[in-house]
């Protein structure tokens, strides 16, 4: 068990970063907070600044304009941090991989720990993905 899995067991604070998404993934993340899924019961919450976060959720494709910002946000994050790519866009580039404004897959820009595919992944699968990652032995 690495350090990351060891320290992140409970009450994860999550920062959400949209690199260039279509909003669906972002809304599904917000949806996790609302009464139906209510991740706050696990002590998880969305924070306003990456400096307070344990987990960085990245959605969307990295565009040429957001490239430097994504790197900057990652650098500002306290380490260790778990980076999770949400959605087909963040995992592979999805539909936008051939776009002229696509700055490369997310894992070429910053280290990514887990991928949750789907377009958009359902809130259930996001929760399942995070849990799977945390229970990894």
């Amino acid at each position: 068990m690495g350090l990351k899995e060891k320290c992140f067991k409970k009450s994860l604070w999550v920062f959400h970063l949209s690199a260039g998404s279509c909003n669906n993934c972002d809304i599904e993340i917000l949806d996790c907070l609302t009464p139906k899924f209510d991740i706050e019961r696990f002590g998880m919450k969305l924070v306003g600044s990456v400096r307070h976060a344990d987990v960085l959720l990245v959605t969307g494709v990295v565009t040429r304009k957001t490239l430097s910002r994504v790197k900057e946000v990652y650098e500002q994050a306290p380490k260790p941090i778990v980076v999770i790519g949400i959605g087909a866009c963040a995992c592979t580039g999805g539909l936008f991989r051939d776009s002229y404004n696509f700055a490369g897959p997310l894992d070429k820009v910053i280290p990514v720990d887990a991928y949750i595919p789907g377009c958009p992944p359902k809130p259930e699968s996001m929760l399942a993905g995070v849990m799977k990652f945390l229970n990894k032995k």
């Binding site: 957001t66 776009s99 404004n101």
Partner: protein, 398 residues
């Protein structure tokens, strides 16, 4: 000129999910000017569309914006179908309208929730999003996905709505109607909300014409435009409904328009379901063999206003030019009018009032010191400021 302060908001704004960047130039509490910078979300969609076949473009335009994932395909379908001039089957028209209106309800509920959050009413946020869930579940039952429905295709729709689904949908609609009553009550009768929203971010009908704003933003200033009525498409001329208008042009009027529009949407869906029953088991799509050379123009009323698509075909498999204009493109510039002259604490709700969608527009909020250009406040603080104002008002029992 006194010392001005610049407040930068963004590009990573904790609540509005998209990267966007605003600068508010302030003198004390008063916003003197603002600029915005966008383009963070530019993904080259128009270009990608030109590399896909006409059929595939539906799934690309759907991913322009997650909230309007019916409006873009709707406008695109209208555009592309206008080239060969096909008339889609009646059943397909009803189903298209149902999906379009369900999307309007879910989008407006989402807006009510976010507006509630900006004002410090987190209960409203939680409630509105909770009531939105049954609609998303309904989407999943009808279309197979909670968002990005992939429902439309050239010449009709891809899935039928059967009797069982129709009954389920009716039940969900009745529930949503009840919940809408509750939200309308919570917004219309609350003195604090009146104090926060009345007279804030006012846009006169002249401003609307100047900026070319559309949708609920325009209708809240008594500008009577709605594509669904003015140039009917799908089933909108086969059902009875009315365009909701409100006086005042302030944030309150915009909230009113959105809340009351939800009732209209519910009425439209119910009538469409009746229509589906009558047109019993007809075709849901006709075969369109090829798109002849020509130019197609289509528009549709998205929850935020008019979406416009232009498609040019040379008789081949894919569009040779595809141009998209989303409603936020004309609504966002109105920020200069609605925020300037107001206080900083009102800026968050005044910008949220047009329900800006940056992934549609590919555009970005911050507050800077005018003289030094230093960042002094971020969006989280701005929202906090806005929430504190509501708290003060509550304490004073206005």
């Amino acid at each position: 000129m006194g010392k001005k302060t610049v407040i930068p908001i963004g590009p990573y704004h904790p609540l509005l999910e998209e990267p966007e960047f605003f600068k508010l130039y302030c003198d004390g509490e008063i916003v003197k000017d603002m600029v915005w910078e966008t383009g963070y979300n530019h993904r080259g969609i128009e270009k990608i569309c030109q590399t896909k076949t006409f059929e595939q473009v539906f799934y690309v335009v759907e991913r322009i914006c997650g909230i309007c994932s019916t409006s873009h395909p709707f406008a695109y379908a209208n555009a592309v179908e206008s080239i060969p001039g096909v008339e889609i089957p009646e059943r397909a028209k009803y189903i298209r309208s149902i999906v379009g209106e369900l999307e309007r309800i879910h989008s407006h509920l989402l807006w009510v929730g976010l507006a509630g959050h900006f004002l410090g009413y987190n209960t409203v946020f939680m409630w509105a999003w909770k009531y939105r869930e049954p609609i998303l579940d309904m989407f999943e039952i009808i279309t197979g996905n909670r968002n990005s429905y992939a429902m439309f295709t050239i010449g009709g729709v891809r899935r039928d709505i059967n009797a069982e689904q129709a009954t389920q949908l009716l039940k969900v609609l009745d529930d949503v109607k009840e919940k809408t009553d509750l939200l309308v009550g919570a917004v219309m009768d609350d003195p604090v909300i009146h104090a926060r929203l009345k007279g804030v971010g006012v846009l006169t009908s002249k401003d609307i014409h100047d900026f070319g704003a559309v949708g609920p933003t325009a209708r809240a200033s008594m500008v009577d435009i709605d594509v669904r009525r003015d140039d009917p498409y799908a089933a909108y001329d086969m059902v009875n409904w009315k365009v909701i208008l409100a006086k005042g042009g302030d944030v309150f009027a915009k909230a009113e328009v959105r809340l009351l529009e939800m009732y209209e949407s519910i009425a439209i869906i119910k009538q469409c379901l009746e229509g589906l029953k009558k047109s019993n088991q007809g075709d849901i799509k006709i075969k369109v063999k090829e798109i002849p050379p020509g130019i197609g123009i289509g528009h549709a009323e998205a929850p935020r206003g008019e979406v416009f698509h232009f498609v040019k075909s040379d008789g081949g498999n894919s569009p040779v030019r595809h141009k998209i204009r989303a409603p936020s493109y004309t609504c966002i510039p109105t920020f200069r009018k609605s925020c300037v002259g107001g206080t900083v604490s009102d800026a968050a709700i005044a910008t949220a009032a047009v329900d800006p969608c940056y992934c549609c527009t590919e555009r970005m909020t911050q507050v800077y010191d005018y003289s030094t250009g230093k960042k002094i406040m971020n969006a989280a603080e701005l929202i906090k400021l806005s929430q504190a104002k509501t708290r003060d008002l509550k304490d004073k029992k206005v």
